[in-house]
Structure formats: C-alpha cells, structure tokens
C-alpha cells in the first residue's frame, strides 16, 4: 500500500505519466544550455517512456547534473524543448519530478522517518499521519526499527535508503537521481543497487539516473545514454540486456551484459576525448 496522499497528489498535479503526444514521460528535443560562455549541453535528444529508467553516463563535469536540474525544473534551458509528464514550464516540471542529490543531505535535526516524510509535511500533512505513511515503506524496505534514529546514527547505505524513500514518498511520477550511490563502498553499493531495483519494481517510476559507474547504469536502467565531454551530446544509446534482474551478481557477469558494458566503456572513452 502506498501512502494515500501519493495517489491524490498524482491526480492533483494532473500528471498522467504518458500525457504528451509521443507517449514519453520525458521528452528532450534539441536541448542546449550554457553557463555564461561555457556550453554545457548541446543538441541533446532523449526520450524516456513512462516507468522507464534511463541511465546517463559521461565523463566528470560533462553537464549530467545540469541536465537533471533542467528536467526537475530547477533551471530553465537556454534552448530546445523539455517536456516532463506533459509539462514544459519549470513549475510544472518541479511538480512532477523529485530530485535526489548526490550526497544524502538528510537533515540532522530530523529523525530518519521525518526526513523521509519531508514532502508530505511540506504539503501540510500532519506529522503523525506523515510518519504513518512513511512508516509502511520503512518496514518494507529494510529500515524497520530505524524510524526514530538520527541520521548520524545510520550507516552510509541506510542513509541512502532513507534519502531514496524521501524522494519516492514525494509521490512524483519522475525521479531524478544524481549519483545516488557514489559515496558508498563497493559491497554496500552492490547491495543498494539490488535494493533500488526491488524498490522500483514495487513502485515503478520514470527515472533518470546519473552515474559514473557503467555497470550500475546498465544493471539499473532499461537504456543507457553515453554522453560526451562538455558540451554534453549523446555518443551512443544502449539497451540494457537484463534491467534490474533479481540476481544482480549473476546478471553482471552474463556474457551479453559484459559485451554491452564493454561497448559502453568504448563509447565513454571515445566521447571523453
């Protein structure tokens, strides 16, 4: 059971996930953006179908995070078209997209559950109700018993879980995830990838996932776009062989997966020159 407020808010935002003409939840056409004289994004075309997961990989500083902020409605593009759940204006995009920053940014003065329930509280849901709604997800996603813990008491993986639930509980059709597991060690990261895959199976959303880890992108996404160095342009778009497979460790050593990963790596190296 999802929080009751979530369904209500979908309706309130008028965000049918496939509202635009092409049937894509996110449609980016001929997008260009710059910071002053610095071109960060150039002639970018991308489309993500409803409930699809698009992975974005590219060299550091290539404008991936900027792209996420553009999608989330936190910035306006210099040129081109950007449509998220049928909305083109930044306000509309902001209503349809929840953003998970690179660092978890849990507020240290709030307990884990109050952090996760922030979006509900921002919409005026009472604290007790917000905690009940978020609590159901805590139980289901391995955070049961940690509701009242302070963020500082949680491990890195746990903190990322809370941060992701905070994004999920916002109830938005689109999630923008900016290198969600970059700060974790390899073992925790693999665990978290499986965890996120399960969470997305239970609560399908349209996701744009920025990561510098090609394997992570290919495991979690349906499609992966390899971007070039600044200004960001797509070098190659690849279909993942087994998106969010139940057994991650087996999936990533499958010969087909390895072959696509190598292709992505080659594209990445080509694009960063």
């Amino acid at each position: 059971m999802m929080p009751a407020t979530e369904a209500k808010d979908f309706a309130a935002a008028g965000a049918s996930p496939a509202a635009n003409a092409t049937g894509a939840a996110i449609a980016i056409r001929d997008l260009g953006h710059s910071y002053g004289d610095l071109r960060t994004i150039e002639r970018l075309d991308l489309a993500v179908p409803a409930h699809g997961v698009l992975g974005l990989v590219g060299p550091s500083g290539c404008g991936k995070s900027t792209l996420l902020e553009l999608i989330a409605g936190l910035q306006e593009p210099g040129q081109g078209e950007l449509e998220v759940g049928g909305a083109r204006d930044p306000r509309g995009r902001l209503q349809r997209c929840a953003y998970m920053p690179q660092r978890d940014l849990l507020l240290p003065w709030l307990s884990a559950i109050d952090n996760a329930a922030l979006a509900l509280r921002n919409r005026g849901v009472r604290r007790a109700q917000a905690r009940r709604d978020a609590g159901e997800l805590f139980e289901r996603f391995g955070l049961g018993g940690f509701e009242r813990a302070a963020p500082a008491e949680l491990s890195g993986g746990m903190r990322q879980r809370v941060a992701f639930l905070r994004t999920l509980i916002a109830g938005k059709p689109v999630l923008a995830l900016d290198e969600p597991f970059a700060s974790l060690d390899a073992i925790t990261r693999a665990e978290m990838q499986e965890w996120l895959a399960a969470a997305l199976s239970a609560h399908p959303r349209t996701v744009v996932l920025v990561t510098h880890d090609v394997e992570e992108a290919l495991y979690l996404s349906d499609r992966v776009a390899v971007l070039s160095a600044r200004p960001a342009r797509p070098v190659e778009e690849l279909a993942a062989p087994a998106p969010r497979a139940a057994d991650r460790d087996a999936a990533v050593i499958d010969p087909q997966f390895v072959a696509v990963r190598e292709r992505a790596m080659r594209a990445l190296r080509k694009g960063s020159r």
Binding site: L74, L94, Y99, R103, L107, W109, L118, R121, N122, A152
Partner: protein
C-alpha cells in the same frame, strides 16, 4: 573533576601569590603606593561579604539592563537577519549600516543617549542592544546563508514553499551560528551596561565602581568587578546550556 583541576589550580595559585604579595606589603612597596590602595584577595572577599546587600542591589540594576538590552538585540537581530536573508535588496541596503552600528564609539554616544533619553534605563538598553545587535545579526545571517544549495534544491522538488525552506532547513542550520553570536554578545553586554551607567545613572555596578574609585575604596571596586564577571560567566553558561539543549544534533 579532573577536567576542572588545572584551571582551578592555576586560579588558586594566582590568588595565593597575590595574597602573599599584598598582605606582606611587598606589592604596595613595589608600586610605591599606600597599602590600602592595593587590597589583598582576603580584603576583597571581606568587602564582598560586608557590602553584599549594596552589591546585590546594584548588580540587580545592571543585570536588568543587560537582560533587557540583550533581549531587544536578540529580537531585532533575528528579525534583521531573516529580512536581510530573504531580500537581496535589503541585504545590500542595510549591510553597511549594520557594520557601521558596530563602529559607533560607545564612550562618545553614551552621554548623548543620556541627554536624549534621560537618566532612566532607556539609554542603557540602547547601548547594550547596540553592542549586542551586531554579533547576533551577522552570525545568524551567516548561518542562514550557510545552507547547502543542493539541500534547497532538494526541498524545492519536495514541494517546499520559501517559508518551509526557511523553517525546516535554514533556521535549524542557523541555530548554532545564532548561539555563537549570542554568547559573544552577552559577555560584551555586561561591559556595555557598565559604560551606559558611567555616562549617567544613579544606581548599578558601574555607578558603584565609579564612586568607589573616586573614594579610593579599592577593595570594593575589585569586589564589584568580581560580581560583574560572575554575571557575565553565568549568562554565558546559561546560553551554552540552552545551546546544548536545543542543538542536539551536533
């Protein structure tokens, strides 16, 4: 106990040395002064005890000025910090004035304030508030602006209004900064109250110190200073305690 041993030992040693130097007359000789002008710690303690009613009465006057002036500065400082944080125009307009408020020479403005507001408590409140206002406002403003821009973006995508970002993210972030400013302010507030009383007053520790200096009652001058320090230390301690209670995440 172990933590307090070194400062207490040092204090005891200093007082002991002073006691010996003063009571043997060595200190007065060295300074070429009459012995009654160089009181020993024992004499100061005696004066403290004998004049306890007088000291308490005047300390209460000074404490009231400090608390009221500090309270006004906290209210005004918080209001200013929030207003300057929310509006770029206000910040650009008022920031120079804010800095200027700190450069006002209290010694010079004290008598003027007495002329304007009379011998009552008003000029003291102005002086104390003027002194406290700056550290509180500047620190709180810095705290409000210290928030990670990523956190603000995250909150915006979680449907937070400007007021909710202020209340849920910026204000809690600013709390430790506010307490730093308030702790600085409250210690100088005591000195500010003293200046205010010097400029013109009929009671208060500042008045007492002034009269006793003129009448060469040196032991009681030291006793009054001791009371003044105790007030400052107590107020500082109370603020530190409040900070620990409120800022539990640090």
């Amino acid at each position: 106990m172990k933590r307090w041993a070194p400062p207490l030992l040092l204090l005891a040693a200093l007082i002991g040395a002073w006691q010996i130097a003063a009571s043997t007359g060595w200190l007065a000789d060295a300074l070429h002064l009459e012995p009654f002008l160089v009181p020993s710690p024992a004499e100061i303690a005696e004066s403290l005890w004998q004049s306890r009613a007088l000291l308490a009465e005047n300390a209460w006057v000074t404490l009231r000025e400090v608390l009221l002036g500090f309270g006004c500065a906290v209210l005004a400082g918080l209001a200013f910090a929030v207003a300057l944080h929310l509006s770029d125009l206000l910040r650009r307009t008022f920031y120079p004035l804010l800095v200027a408020s700190q450069t006002v020479p209290i010694v010079a403005i004290g008598p003027i304030l007495v002329v304007w507001f009379g011998y009552g408590i008003a000029p003291k409140l102005w002086i104390v508030a003027l002194i406290c206002f700056f550290p509180i406002t500047v620190n709180t403003l810095d705290g409000l602006r210290s928030v990670d821009p990523e956190a603000t973006k995250m909150m915006r995508t979680l449907d937070a209004s400007r007021g909710q970002i202020l209340g849920r993210v910026e204000a809690p972030s600013a709390l430790p900064y506010f307490f730093s400013g308030a702790k600085i302010a409250v210690t100088v507030a005591v000195i500010a109250a003293l200046f205010g009383e010097w400029a013109g007053a009929d009671s208060g520790l500042g008045v007492l110190i002034r009269q006793d200096s003129a009448q060469l009652e040196t032991a009681r001058v030291f006793a009054a200073m001791l009371v003044l320090s105790a007030i400052a230390i107590a107020l500082f301690g109370l603020l530190a305690l409040a900070e620990r209670r409120v800022v539990t995440w640090r």
